[in-house]
Symmetry: C2
Subunit: 336 residues, 2 copies
Amino acid sequence: MSEKTVAILGATGVVGQQMLQCLEERNFPVGRLVPLASERSVGKPVTFRGEDVPCQLAAADAFEGVDIVLGAADDATARALLPEAVKRGAVCVDNSHAFRLEPDVPLVVPEVNAADIAAHHGIIANPNCATIIGLVPVWPLHQAAGLTRLIVSTYQAASGAGKPGLDELVREIRCVAAGEPVGESAPFQYQLAENLIPQIGGFNEEGYTSEEMKMQNEGRKIMHLPELRVNCTCVRVPVVRSHSESITCEFERPISVDEARAILEAAPGVKVVDDPATSRYPMPLETSDQDLIYVGRLRRDLSAPEGVSSLTFWCCGDQIRKGAATNAVQIAEYLV
Amino acid sequence: MSEKTVAILGATGVVGQQMLQCLEERNFPVGRLVPLASERSVGKPVTFRGEDVPCQLAAADAFEGVDIVLGAADDATARALLPEAVKRGAVCVDNSHAFRLEPDVPLVVPEVNAADIAAHHGIIANPNCATIIGLVPVWPLHQAAGLTRLIVSTYQAASGAGKPGLDELVREIRCVAAGEPVGESAPFQYQLAENLIPQIGGFNEEGYTSEEMKMQNEGRKIMHLPELRVNCTCVRVPVVRSHSESITCEFERPISVDEARAILEAAPGVKVVDDPATSRYPMPLETSDQDLIYVGRLRRDLSAPEGVSSLTFWCCGDQIRKGAATNAVQIAEYLV
């Protein structure tokens, strides 16, 4: 496997930092690393394989000679710079929302649709974190029984709002512990410590948030199910870095709990943690810094009308790893 | 209105203390207060209308001359003592689970089935907190459109585990803020700070917890819908005292979002807080120490199959007040 020149666009952010760690852990064949950042971080070093590598300015000419770009920047930066990288011959795996729904851009969860990677035209999009974490277990069940409807309530970690979100939760927990007022809560709309915020992203005219619509719109594209109906409620919770989801799936064909459990136990990217007798189930503290999606609380949907095949489960996954960095590096592995 | 002798069984607990406050706030006609507690709290004073009243031992003869008992004790204590109170002529409003599903015991959310109170034989049961908080908004929608299916994911506060739960969350948040290990987490199964625990109560053979089954079994009895199908996932979250719920309701008849909103705005016990444009929606911090159930994020269920009438919303309510003490005092008001 020949070594590649790999650029990280947004190398100093939470996802960019995690991408560096994933490249290292997974022995990705990095010949030369090009960490890219905004003006104020130029010259600041990132650590890779024990060495300090200074950040360069994220600009078009920085992509000269780069083979693979891992994008961990915001939508505007991705939109401005990744086409420049493609022009210079790089292939980009982008974690922003900018290109996800463009028809000529594959949107990939490797456990689901790795085959779509081959059709890229220079950019492959990494899906939304809550979407990745939900689809890893939903997909093998769909393959077995034919998914027709998804009802999801999420419990999303502070890390979904990046390093500012992580720092803010830490700050707020210190305030609460000290009995001090929390004050301004940016990047969150309201205090998150000891609270829940049922808004992630902006609202559409039907009252759904952009985060909620991603589960349907990205899910349709990733699973090649253009008619899939998804009802999603996204809620920010005072948890550091793992998202959790309460999921109800309806299927075309009957599927028993035992069948579903066997399927999930054999599914790539999934770890079944489901033993009520010993109070074992997925929890966000346990999935922090793990790459697998933990699945448990698997059971029959008691509310299913006569003749409707439906299951309910609970899953947790690290938002920064499988929800972002690990998924992107997995895609890059298919490119080399 | 003649004054009553009112006993509080479990007067020193979180719910018992809140009952005292509710009696005071709502000007309940208390002639004499009889706070009852276990042996170790006998003589300990509770405060009522600015006066200290010493706790008496919770035992059968303490109910002599008592008109109304508000029960805030555990199931075993309720089972042992409330029949003794009834024998002595008292009427009991009990917050424990002991009598809720007994056929001759009304189970009452006053906004839903106050008429059932009249059929009591000395004991009226106060429902499970998450059930009360969910049903207050579900009921008026059912009256308009005929509820057929409920899918609920809860986000339940530490206070649901009583004073030990409240104290434990405070302790854990201090540990987390100080960077210290949390250690033993009783009464919770695992650390709750910065975590989520998808277990409240024990599991049945289908993998549902007792808390999850309450939503179906108590909901059926309260709403007189013996066939109602409920799929509930109950999750403990690091929030102090308000429960939140993500609810999807299917109905027999069509009901638009606008109709539902108008119905909820007119519904007793409900406050609609739902303005996406200004990021207004219910949050547990805002409903703490409030009696109303706040409802928002009301929208069409995008996952509903063709021809199925279905809505989704989010609600929050104070677990100690409307989820327990306020609801019990409201029932007692119907008795006087």
